[in-house]
Symmetry: C2
Subunit: 479 residues, 2 copies
């Protein structure tokens, strides 16, 4: 699919998204309802996100482990809220090895229950705590309406599951993951600015005491929940009997947390940065950061050009992820278009004229057309690209942040709110309860995305109830 086949954002945002996924070769539908095939380019992006997350998860003291895909039916039933939240979405294995099973299994929708059952065996004494474990896994939630990366029946994710001696330690873990792992990766690696805060009871994880989230704004003004971190309190330790002997020799229920981000992040990446020409990738998550496209019209020209390219790229291994596109059976225009659609941050073009002038043409993907093109001395090309990649990484973040800030509104009345929430986020004093949240959702399709950490010092008037309150919430329509 060529770039001129991509629907424009302002024409049909939803179609634009699907076009990008297809044109950039990120994923495609499979023969399994709601499940996608993650294609090499899409998976390479995921591997870079994974690498950034995994490094931080380990640096903060966690180890990876692996728990079973299947969960006995009886486990899921043990935590009441959890069951209620996940029951409608479960896929069930009823037969195996040619026979009907005595007790059927669910394909994990998340692993609190099977991990809780395991931890109850591992935890005996305060010496066993904390347990700090993460799992990279596939999970399955039977969804009616699916969209590539954003909502699929099967998706890939990491799920951290930790056990602590005290509520304070569990709370510290929950927040540390949100700040030092999730926010750091999403903002600094993926160049997506986020609002951070607490979920309301209506929006929290099924079975959690408190859920914290990071929320990103897409280019249509909608929110995408990019990661969640749950303080599970003692809910799961009571359901699964996770108890420890304290230093004072008393028996205590432990405090647990869980936290996860998924392949959904790729959806956020697409919708935050890309344009009508295709995917736009921050260099830190670009599988190919620099592509070199040779220009030639004869074998003789090609030989010269390729020799120059070989010399210029000789020191690039280990510095950049780069590719030289020397395909003979595709023409120059096709190649340029393909790498634009795939979101490669920097394109270098070298032809006979450039060799004469000892220069190279350098184009940056985040500024299409002439605005982003410059001619650079071959002598300084490597250094130029190095600083250009850093510049693009920052520019994408800045652009996304400016967009988000100018699309974050402040409503004082429900009427104002109704208009604003169709355009972007609304940050407003809100004193309502769950019923009010339900009403707002019914009437505007928007929800409380989070109660941001960053709260005002002074009281204000709730836009809905008119009551005085110190609580500010962020509302938005969401993916």
């Amino acid at each position: 699919m060529a770039k001129d086949a991509i629907t424009a954002r302002d024409k049909d945002y939803s179609k634009w998204y699907l076009d990008i996924v297809e044109a950039a070769g990120l994923s495609e539908n499979s023969g399994v309802k709601g499940c996608m095939v993650i294609k090499p380019h899409g998976f390479a992006i995921w591997e870079l996100i994974q690498g950034a997350l995994d490094a931080r998860i380990k640096a903060t003291g966690h180890s990876n482990a692996y728990f079973p895909l299947l969960i006995p039916k009886s486990y899921i039933m043990k935590e009441a809220e959890h069951v209620e939240g996940f029951a409608p979405e479960l896929a069930e294995v009823t037969h195996a090895g040619g026979e009907k099973l005595e007790e059927s299994y669910y394909v994990r929708p998340t692993s609190e229950t099977i991990i809780g059952a395991t931890y109850s065996k591992w935890v005996r004494s305060w010496r066993d705590l904390p347990i700090l474990i993460n799992q990279w896994a596939n999970v399955m939630r039977w969804e009616m309406r699916t969209r590539p990366f954003l909502r699929t029946t099967e998706f890939l994710w990491q799920e951290g599951h930790t056990v602590h001696a005290t509520e304070a330690e569990a709370e510290a873990e929950t927040l540390m993951i949100l700040h030092d792992v999730y926010t750091d990766v999403v903002e600094r690696v993926m160049a997506i600015p986020v609002y951070k805060g607490l979920k309301t009871d209506k929006e929290k994880f099924a079975g959690a005491l408190r859920t914290y989230a990071i929320e990103a704004m897409m280019q249509d003004g909608k929110a995408l929940q990019a990661g969640t971190s749950h303080n599970l309190g003692q809910n799961f330790s009571k359901s699964f009997d996770i108890k420890y002997q304290s230093q004072e020799n008393t028996e205590e229920y432990a405090w647990t947390t869980s936290w996860g981000v998924s392949t959904r992040l790729i959806g956020a990446l697409i919708m935050c940065h890309s344009d009508d020409d295709g995917l736009v990738l921050p260099p830190a998550v670009a599988p190919i950061q620099v592509v070199v496209v040779p220009i030639y019209r004869s074998d003789e020209e090609k030989a010269k050009v390729m020799e120059t390219i070989a010399r210029l790229t000789a020191e690039w291994a280990g510095k950049f992820r780069f590719k030289v596109d020397d395909r003979d059976y595709e023409n120059f225009g096709f190649k340029v278009s393909e790498w634009e659609v795939k979101g490669v941050p920097v394109r270098v073009e070298i032809g006979p004229k450039d060799i004469e002038k000892n220069s190279a043409a350098v184009a940056r993907r985040d500024r299409p057309g002439k605005a982003g093109k410059s001619f650079v001395d071959q002598a300084g090309l490597t250094e130029h690209i190095e600083s250009l990649l850093a510049e693009i990484q920052q520019a994408l973040y800045d652009r996304a942040k400016e967009f988000r800030d100018t699309h974050t509104y402040t409503a004082e009345t429900y009427d104002e709110f109704k208009t604003q929430v169709q355009l972007g986020f609304v940050r407003a004093y809100f004193d309502g309860d769950r019923k009010d949240e339900d009403r707002i959702q019914d009437e505007t399709k928007s929800t409380v995305r989070c109660i941001p950490f960053d709260q005002p010092d002074v009281e204000g008037k709730c836009f809905l109830t008119g009551r005085s309150t110190k609580r500010v919430c962020i509302f938005a329509k969401s993916y």
Copy 2:
């Protein structure tokens, strides 16, 4: 579980294996029949094996991707041999989202079918070939008798799936993976010597044209198939309609391959190197390569010792994977025993006496007791450990190879064969057919592990039929 609780190998080899898995904290049974929890130490070993494989898979031109966990029933049915091979082991999802499904799905036992269905859409022209893709995934085969790592209902693996224009290219790919990826990782990273060769028709993969394998010898003389690489011929391309337009404008069925290794390799690692004191790990796959255990009897002594350790280990980050065991609530003997059981290749002990003498005690795990202990000048400690790790890596390989070579026999008669195959491998002239293989299996529980690449130049007499033949096979009982 302490090391004195580990059953001796010569007493009960099978129990010894289970004891090691438990004592070293590698895995444990879960609430799901035949599925294990891979614990942090076991998973960290897997991550190191994965890393070594993934680097080589990418260096040889492959990309990672991800295909659905579930496979429509109709897909599995398309390739006749494949169905027959896998049908008895399938887990079936019949219900989802609270309803009975119209067509049920199988949890993938391997992915040739779902990937074949996808490739049929991707392959149009010779320009699309080769397709070189790998997937890291969990798979499920409903096994009756399971053993941790060796045979579990769910396991983790990589499965490569490639498409080529010609049989020669598919064959070259199949062999390249066997030599440059699998043999290289298993021999050089895991320090396990292997025999390489072709499987007989009886032993090949369900649906393959030819299966190649690497076979390792365990300490009880049994074989463990450590990796397989299949030339699938045109079987799957015909079942799934993977066709391409050639450069000569003819329509051709493509040639496909698949290849995989799994968490089974951890079983091989345990059974190849470990001893009656616990796990023994080659440094390249040891999550902790060096452990430092301080010796002290007072807070004052501890302060001094820890100061010395901090100084000595200051330059170790990035050089070794190391850990300083400063737990106050465990004693010295417990710590030493724990790290031995977990297979840490090098242990450094430092106490007040060592500080006086400016030395450190260094113990190597592959030579337990006094034989492997030496006192090293603190000034040269880092260099000493560096070369010691390399030495241990080689020593483990050499020891395993010597064991294998002295336990590989040559039978000239079936009587000789019967005795020898209870002790190790038998490499012998064999001219029999499938019926003969079945008979040998019935009577001796052994199978042809492979027809090694390394074949004799001269004819010999088949140990079973007495006929003249040039074919030598390797037989063994196996896991």
